[in-house]
Amino acid sequence: MTRRRLVAAVLAVAFVVLPLAVGDFGLSVLTFAGIFAVGAIGLDLAVGHAGQISLGHGFFMGVGAYAAVNLGAEAGLGLPVWLSGAAVAGGALGALVGLCALRLRGAYLAIVTVGVVFVGLYVWNNVPAISGGAAGAGGEAPAVLGPLDFNHLRVAGQSYAREQAWFWLVWALVAAAAWLAANLVRSRTGRAWQAVHDNELAASAVGVDVGRAKVSAFAVAGALGAVAGALYFGYVQYVGPDEWSLFLSVQFLAIVIVGGSGRLAGPVVGAVVLGGAPRLVEELSPHLPIGGLGLTVANLNRLLFGLLVVCFVAYAPRGLAGGWDDLQRRRRWGRRPLADAPMVRAAVADEPTIDDKEQL
């Protein structure tokens, strides 16, 4: 068995066995992690692969949540309808934000995506027809898929708790999102993203349609963010208008960075480590001496996220997944930097690198 197959087999076994072995609290933490993983996979396509800054991912999650509120809980339509409705709404709005990215980059783009969050907060607070206004929106979105009802799961005469059922649903969708992302990245579109990420001007010089690449990256990111939001509402059954804040967007970015941006496993690893962290901190807080230090739970979370972001960006920009890759390489090639690996050295031996040329 190759290593890939081994990993896949372990994950498959964990997928089936975990809900049977882990208690309700642990499962809900993992389900939240899975919901964040779906969104983070999307964000990483825009950030890690296409190199576009987005501080607006929390907005798209909100879009998806309210799609689920209106299509699922209000109109009573089925799971496939409100999930795909969320994806379409998120994708369309993502494409709109992507249009802004055509003329803007770096700090300006970051500011516009911050603006998207504020416009979103205004809409969620002031248009009750969409969001239930400041009071929020609650209700049960039907979660029936074929013979399976994930809100009241019964399979072969055996009934399962909601936590178990939603774990399976959410993590199946994580797998689907990861599969989609892996294939997109290897497609023509994905290679265009990578080209834009590496050098926008060079990409357009060799004929990559930069505009199309940017818009499609934001559209896919928005769609997956919205799917995450829809799942969040389906699971929690209540959403308030102020949940879709800038801090949520920052949490998504932290997940991508800590996990390792630009690689498939990154957002998932990051989501498992950080997506469940707020719940864990909340649960463990009575046992931690933070009360004595005068720190609140929310505050501790911010401190934790802040420190992790700074440390990872500054000292481990390749994230946990990248660190794992480095470990593997080291086992194969010893403790030498990448440039010393025999293949790399052979490849660069007689050609001056682009950097060298630029120096000249």
């Binding site: 802004c100 500011i111 205004y122 720190l295 802040g306 972001v309």
Partner: protein, 302 residues
């Protein structure tokens, strides 16, 4: 008419604050191309430090403000040294994320130190207001006059510093061309440190003027810096004059939206409309002129 005049006065006052905040962003961005999302935390730090020196240690207000500015400047240098020096030459995304991380850490530590309740800074302007043009005339708060004066004075001081001090000239040289600046013997790292110190000191002034009057200082103060983004972009991220002009324009637009929005818009749409109007203006401006009113156009080269 009085209502319009009253709103314009309020708009100019809010606008000078936005201008001051935006100026702090510009000072750092111009020299080091770091877009500092932690600037809001420096506003908060400056206000808390002034509170600490004035209310907790009992120093008179203006010396307390001065000490707070110096202490905040030291914190700015520390942040530059610890978190950002490693990031020179890294992609903008990484640098922006570092500043966001720094903001989260700073905010959390300040809540830890000063708590989450609203504290009074104890500024000398307080709630004093003057009425212009007799009864029924326009009311002007003392602190609003201080805000406008401070924006003008800080901008003038910054301009004089850039124009006549050798450090200021070094800052301009670094802004114009970093490599050429290094080649002509300018210590670019020192320039960056000075920029962070200046930005933190300006943030202290802005933070105290923001917290002064009726508002007081609490952790939500740092979010005001986000509201100043549109001002920054309107003016152009590398133009100090643009920052102040953009700030004033934004302040007037925002206050007018807050004043007339609820009456003109149907239903609940009017509430808080002033929080989005600046961003809508910003989107419009960016799509027409991506580098703002006064910003330099960036040229890309392969």
């Amino acid at each position: 008419m009085t209502r319009l005049a009253q709103l314009l006065v309020a708009g100019v006052a809010v606008g000078s604050l936005y201008g001051l905040i935006a100026l702090g962003f510009v000072v750092v961005y111009r020299a080091s191309h770091v877009f500092n999302f932690a600037h809001g935390s420096f506003l908060l730090l400056g206000a808390y430090l002034t509170y600490g020196f004035h209310q907790q240690l009992g120093l008179p207000f203006f010396p307390a403000l001065g000490l707070a500015a110096v202490a905040a400047a030291a914190a700015g240098v520390a942040v530059e040294r610890l978190a950002l020096r490693r990031m020179v030459g890294q992609p903008p995304f990484a640098v922006i994320m570092i500043t966001i991380g720094v903001a989260l850490v700073m905010d959390a530590l300040m809540v830890w130190a000063w708590g989450a309740e609203r504290l009074t800074v104890g500024d000398p302007w307080g709630l004093t207001t003057y009425r212009l043009g007799g009864a029924g005339g326009v009311r002007v708060a003392a602190i609003d006059i201080a805000r406008l004066l401070a924006a003008g004075l800080v901008l003038a001081a910054y301009w004089l510093f850039c124009r006549y001090s050798s450090l200021g000239v070094a800052m301009r040289a670094t802004a114009a061309d970093q490599e050429a600046a290094v080649a002509s013997g300018i210590d670019v790292h020192r320039v960056f440190a000075v920029c962070w110190a200046l930005a933190a000191a300006i943030a202290t002034v802005a933070g105290v003027l923001l917290a002064g009057g009726a508002r007081g200082v609490d952790p939500s103060l740092s979010a005001v810096a986000l509201a100043a983004f549109p001002a920054l972009v309107l003016g152009g991220v590398n133009s100090p004059v643009g920052a102040i002009v953009g700030g004033l324009a934004l302040g007037v637009v925002e206050v007018l939206a807050a004043g007339y929005g609820p009456g003109w818009l149907p239903g609940a749409l009017g509430a808080n409309v002033h929080t989005v109007v600046p961003y809508l203006v910003l989107l419009g401006v960016l799509l027409v002129r991506p580098s703002g009113m006064f910003g330099d156009r960036e040229r890309a080269r392969l």
